[in-house]
């Protein structure tokens, strides 16, 4: 999987994550990872990568991550994003992973950078950098500054700029009317001044709102047109993913619409079967 401008958008499935899933949380607390099989099956038809987060404060996250990574890799060939705020869990996931992983995530805070980047470098992984430090800057220029710092410190650790994917921070538009315009401004700055790949937690945008899939699809199409190259998103939703694939075609990243047309034929064949 190569993420980059000019290439098709990278859809990262967000589903393997206990946030907001009380039942999955309870299972994780029992050390039960069986639900992951369903989560993988629901996402693999449309996703390009899968995010794996098994964090629960009442569970042994490090051990869960150690087991979850080989489990997911036994179920799919898609590359994975290893997602945790616990350094030891990231390390456990990276050690268990076959291939080049993407680590989710580091912020611009010095202590996080110094703790996480050496592990990323050691495992030859790539890393998502959130454009915030101890607060979330509301000005795009300040988010750009944080992003520059992350890329620069990553470089000090031997991590190349192309292995740093910046998250400009997608925030709920239901709580801040300017959330998406700020996001888009930040994307443009990142693309034009830093030239890095970008990602975001796309579902944040539609938090607390009706019609989340329609909002999600429109948001991603807008974001893609301003340079967003990947997103951690609802890969179970045909509507959201199709909006992304359509934007690839419309923005010239799917020449002659060959992916678009192939996906249409797969759908037709599936419907006929």
């Amino acid at each position: 999987m190569v993420i980059g401008p000019g290439r098709p958008f990278c859809v990262i499935g967000e589903r393997i994550n206990p946030t907001g899933r009380k039942k999955f949380q309870a299972q994780l607390q029992q050390g039960d990872l069986s639900r992951i099989e369903i989560d993988v099956a629901q996402q693999t038809p449309l996703a390009d990568m899968l995010d794996v987060n098994v964090g629960d404060p009442l569970a042994d996250e490090i051990e869960l991550m150690r087991q979850a990574i080989p489990l997911v890799q036994s179920l799919t060939d898609l590359p994975l994003v290893i997602d945790s705020s616990v350094i030891e869990a990231l390390e456990a996931g990276l050690s268990a992973y076959q291939g080049k992983a993407l680590v989710n995530s580091v912020t611009g805070e010095d202590e996080r950078l110094e703790a996480i980047l050496p592990i990323v470098a050691k495992h030859g992984a790539a890393v998502i950098g959130l454009a915030n430090d101890d607060e979330i800057p509301m000005e795009p220029e300040r988010r750009l500054e944080v992003a520059k710092k992350i890329v620069s410190v990553a470089g000090d650790h031997g991590i190349k700029p192309e292995d740093v994917v910046i998250d400009p921070l997608a925030m709920p538009v239901g709580a801040e009317p300017r959330a998406v315009t700020l996001f888009v401004e930040t994307l443009k700055l990142l693309r034009d001044e830093l030239g890095v790949n970008t990602t975001c937690g796309a579902s944040n945008t539609s938090f607390g709102l009706p019609g989340r899939e329609t909002l999600g699809g429109s948001f991603l199409a807008i974001a893609a047109s301003h340079g967003l190259t990947s997103a951690i998103m609802d890969a179970r939703s045909v509507e959201v993913v199709e909006a992304v694939r359509a934007s690839d075609f419309l923005l010239g990243k799917d020449e002659w619409g060959s992916n678009w047309i192939a996906a249409y034929r797969r759908k037709q064949a599936a419907a006929a079967a």
Binding site: K22, P57, G208
Partner: protein, 221 residues
């Protein structure tokens, strides 16, 4: 406009988050001799409670909740000093913050407004609040209650870290600890040794009152 009409107007316009109209009606009510308590308890609080109930039922969405809260906040800005003048003592003092590593504040802000509406004095420390900061602010404000908010499963362990910091500072027993946030459960609140957990803003207010009541009667004995 009769007092009834003003109260009804306050209720209706808070419900739809019409902040300018709510502010006008509060000023009109004051000019017409309508009591600040009446506007608060007979119109604004019931309205915001209805907003909360609609949200819980899934009939209201986040933006509607936020603009209603903002309308309420505008009214409180006018009424607060007047309520203080009448000698109405705050029900209690609350220090509130989102824990370190977490920057989510929608839920926390709603609870703050509900608390203020109910007569609490609230000191909001914002987001990504370190344990030391909580300790410092508790020492400064001597609140009845401290509230820790977390939206991520990954930041919930900060509840325990905060409680440990209070213990270390020798102030754990001086303050009631309440926790909340989308992924938080009663079970988890108990596990970290919090005194209270509420699933939504109106429950949080009721619980805050109950816990203070309990503590005061316990102290009196």
């Amino acid at each position: 406009m009769t007092h009834e009409e003003i109260l009804q107007g306050l209720y209706d316009h808070t419900l739809i988050g019409n902040a300018p109209e709510v502010k006008d009606l509060v000023n009109q009510g004051l000019a017409d001799g309508l009591g600040p308590e009446s506007m608060l308890y007979d119109a604004l609080i019931p309205s915001l409670e209805e907003v909360g109930a609609r949200f819980e039922r899934g009939d209201y969405f986040v933006p509607e909740m936020l603009i209603a809260a903002r309308a309420m906040q505008g009214a409180l800005d006018i009424l607060r000093p007047l309520l203080a003048e009448t000698g109405a003592k705050p029900i209690g003092t609350y220090v509130m913050g989102t824990v370190k590593g977490d920057v989510h504040d929608i839920g926390k802000n709603l609870v703050n407004i509900m608390l203020e509406g109910a007569g609490f004095t609230v000191y909001d420390l914002g987001v990504n609040v370190a344990p030391e900061k909580f300790v410092e602010m508790i020492n400064e404000h001597q609140p009845d209650i401290v509230g820790f908010s977390a939206f991520l499963t990954t930041t919930m362990p900060m509840f325990k870290a905060n409680i440990n910091a209070l213990q270390k500072a020798g102030i754990r027993d001086a303050v009631i600890v309440m926790v909340g946030g989308a992924p938080v459960t009663q079970e988890y609140a108990d596990a970290v040794g919090a005194d209270g957990y509420a699933a939504d803003a109106s429950t949080a207010v009721r619980l805050a009152k109950d816990l203070i009541e309990k503590r005061r009667s316990a102290v009196a004995v």
